[in-house]
Symmetry: C2
Subunit: 484 residues, 2 copies
């Protein structure tokens, strides 16, 4: 058994135990590690580099849409959290409380932010006076703490990183427009950068954000057939502006409450990348967010240091200059075979092999991670061929994920079929729903499936066939799934 | 009185009351705002944009020096903080404690990180096994909480943002080399990006980081004559590796404790920019970190919307394409005069005025913020002249700050002169010191001055003239100052 095989054998196959495969991969690929504190993880450099690429790409879009970044305090006085009734009810079970500071008991305990509507609402009431101050389009990159009972690295952790946008508008219409604009931005971001197709739509009232008027979301399908919420965009209406007294003088000199939105994406997107694209050999990162896009492995035989290494270095420099995130692994203590499987496991999109025979022939061997297809390329063409292949890999991963999603959306006209799909096939079930929360609750209780999204073109009241559970007139065809 | 004058008059002159000027400017320029929680501030978009520029420029340098970013938990178990005796003694008075999570009292309270040596040390002990794992060169961008008694926006706040580097090395020499390399990186960063000259050197043992073997620092001089510590680089020796059991098998198969460093720069650098470069009219941002480098103000007279505005828009587009961070203020509700003083106050390095006569003459008027010098430039030359002027402003601000620093370093051979300088002239006092902490303490008690740095070329033991306080043989000539 060579080292190559040993490495691959260490990873539980995805098909055998998806959950074990995921947790092993997170650790073996050094994306994250556990800490002694339950539910809190360290994001290791390789995982953090993915998050940095996500941040950069998302931040660019957020700014291009007119938003600016700011930073609000980590702590929120308890009285602030209590101002919006639904909000405190939804979040107080999950709050971590600071009760001692500077060796003294605090008069009022401070919540470590579980989300920032409350502190930001307080500040907006200070800053906004007139319609001239609107819209306010602020985003924040921050850490968030929610005391979760069941945790899993990246997907649900006590502390996580995110961006949270918080906007204020003159009219209800502008608020709704912003909410949907961000939803579309999130969708485009997931598809373009993460190569992850999503379903988008609104949430049922049961699933909405605590304090929102309406929550919209994008949902992706993991390769075990469970859904994952990738991002949410909330139309807050005037819920928080009334609670925090955020008023402005409108164009007719009348005092009005502002209309607000908030929206966020988190480090769980890194988990989605693992679960959507990974395979039995490990990760498969889309090139746009991969920490390393191409790894150059010199084949270490004979006098490779004199013959192969200089050529490999020149090739790496050329690729770097062409804008490729390239890494050259010239370590002597590992064999080429070990390196092959190591970088497969780490999901590097493209491997470039150069051995003594390649040097003589003036060529390199390229192996793409998505299909494992090999090709031989003249060294002189590397800087044009590698970027082409990276684009092709990005597109290929997206197509694969699209095909998987499309083949895992199933219609259920009756409850028998509905349960059968969830039990034996998983994925999304598209079914008519009467709009009654009682049916929604019963379905969740009996099948663990929830309404993931109500598509935007499904207006309430349209005939949609009988409700999959109760048989009364359906109000919309909605997407159900079991979810993370 | 026109609006222009009104705006300027609202700002307390710097010479009249430096502290009031600083606090007013922070608020009027919308860099930061107070929150209901004592000592915690909001960094508003204009202030945060400065921090983003600082982050980008510093992060680039940190990575170029071989470091990678990661993210460690916000919370640290109390037992971890206690493992290094000096560390807990130094930090425990300032800790905010989380005692309740998920509605339950925690078994062990958690510190909101006042710095991350303890949690990182614990993780390093898990990750490092062999000399092959070294060096570990990790940096983190994070928020930090220290329960400060006396606070001031940016300079000293209960929560602040920073980067903290944490490295591990095989030998003591490599640790010392890293410590000094980072110190030099910080110095170059301050001079090149912030246009702030600094003194660099080591701290006395009294002033070192709690848990460090030796602390090095860079110190800048604010324009009120007080010093500000801009960044610190600590050689931790084996203090934390022994406390956290971070061992590796060396090249001779012997188990050794690693040698560590840690180093940080914070949002207080934004405060330094205000205090070093600001004048009676407001801020003066160095172009490299200015959120807006050039503001274009169309002179709104007559049919300016038809004649001037299109020309101004074209000019703005051209500058943007040339890589200038440019903003066009076409608001009708403010006069050009009001805008002039507004952007002076906000420290925009360059103003570009275009009026009807300028349009006819095919020119624009450029006014630099550092000297208020005006020049008229053909519109066709804007994209070459503006970047030139921005470089000249960057250099000009640095020269001014250098000259100020040079003229505010004074030698004191005796204690009378020493006290006289601190009382009447301020700035840095260069004086021989015997090396005894008793003298250091007494000087601080009587003059409020501390040893800011011991220059690197001042080796202990060299003859330096008699100690400025006790008259015994001096061991080094050191820099004293009152400091923030």
């Amino acid at each position: 058994m060579n080292e190559n095989e040993r490495q691959v054998k260490q990873l539980t196959p995805k098909s055998e135990d998806f959950s074990k495969w995921y947790l092993e991969l997170v650790q073996k690929a050094e994306l994250a590690d556990y800490t002694p504190m339950k539910g809190m993880m360290v994001i290791r450099p390789y995982g953090y580099a993915v998050w940095e690429n996500i941040q950069r790409a998302l931040d660019t879009r957020i700014k291009a849409a007119g938003h600016v970044n700011a930073y609000f305090p980590l702590f929120i006085p308890e009285a602030f959290l209590k101002k919006e009734a639904e909000h405190v009810e939804g979040f107080s079970p999950e709050v971590a409380w600071v009760t001692i500071g500077g060796q003294e008991e605090l008069e009022e305990r401070l919540a470590v932010r579980p989300t920032s509507e409350a502190i930001i609402g307080h500040m907006y009431a200070r800053w906004i006076k007139s319609w001239r101050d609107l819209p306010v389009l602020i985003n924040q990159w921050a850490n968030i703490v929610r005391w979760e009972k069941v945790t899993r690295p990246f997907l649900r952790t006590t502390e996580f990183l995110w961006q949270e946008g918080h906007t204020c508008h003159e009219t209800a219409e502008e608020g709704e427009t912003e909410t949907l604009k961000v939803l579309a931005m999130y969708r485009e971001f997931c598809e373009t950068e993460l190569a992850i197709p999503v379903l988008s739509g609104r949430k049922s009232l049961r699933e909405k954000f605590a304090g929102a008027q309406m929550t919209y979301a994008i949902e992706a399908l993991m390769s075990d057939g469970k859904a994952l919420q990738m991002g949410t965009s909330h139309n807050l209406g005037q819920h928080f502006s009334k609670a925090f007294d955020i008023k402005f003088e409108d164009r007719k000199q009348t005092l009005q409450y502002v209309w607000q939105t908030s929206w966020g994406m988190t480090t769980r997107t890194v988990g989605a990348l693992i679960m959507v694209h990974g395979d039995d050999s490990g990760l498969r990162f889309p090139p746009r967010v991969a920490p390393v896009q191409a790894v150059l492995i010199p084949i270490s035989v004979g006098s490779w240091k004199e013959t192969v290494l200089p050529v490999a270095r020149t090739a790496a420099d050329g690729l770097r200059a062409a804008g490729v995130r390239v890494s050259l692994d010239d370590r002597e203590e590992f064999t080429p075979g070990w390196k092959f499987s190591e970088y497969e496991m780490r999901g590097v999109p493209l491997r470039v092999e150069i051995g003594p025979r390649d040097v003589k022939a003036g060529q390199a061997v390229l192996v793409r991670r998505d299909t494992m297809a090999k090709e031989t390329v003249p060294l002189a063409s590397l800087t044009s061929r590698v970027p082409e292949l990276l684009e092709s890999i990005q597109a290929g991963l997206f197509s694969q994920a699209q095909a998987f999603l499309a083949s895992n959306i199933r219609d259920a006209a009756d409850y028998g079929r509905f349960k059968d799909i969830l039990e034996n096939e998983r994925g999304f079930v598209r079914a008519p729903w009467c709009g009654d929360e009682v049916c929604e609750d019963k379905i969740k209780e009996e099948t663990m499936a929830t309404i993931r999204v109500i598509p935007l073109d499904e207006t309430e009241g349209r005939a949609a066939g009988p409700c999959v559970l109760c048989g009364r007139a359906g109000k919309a065809v909605v997407y159900f799934a079991r979810a993370y």
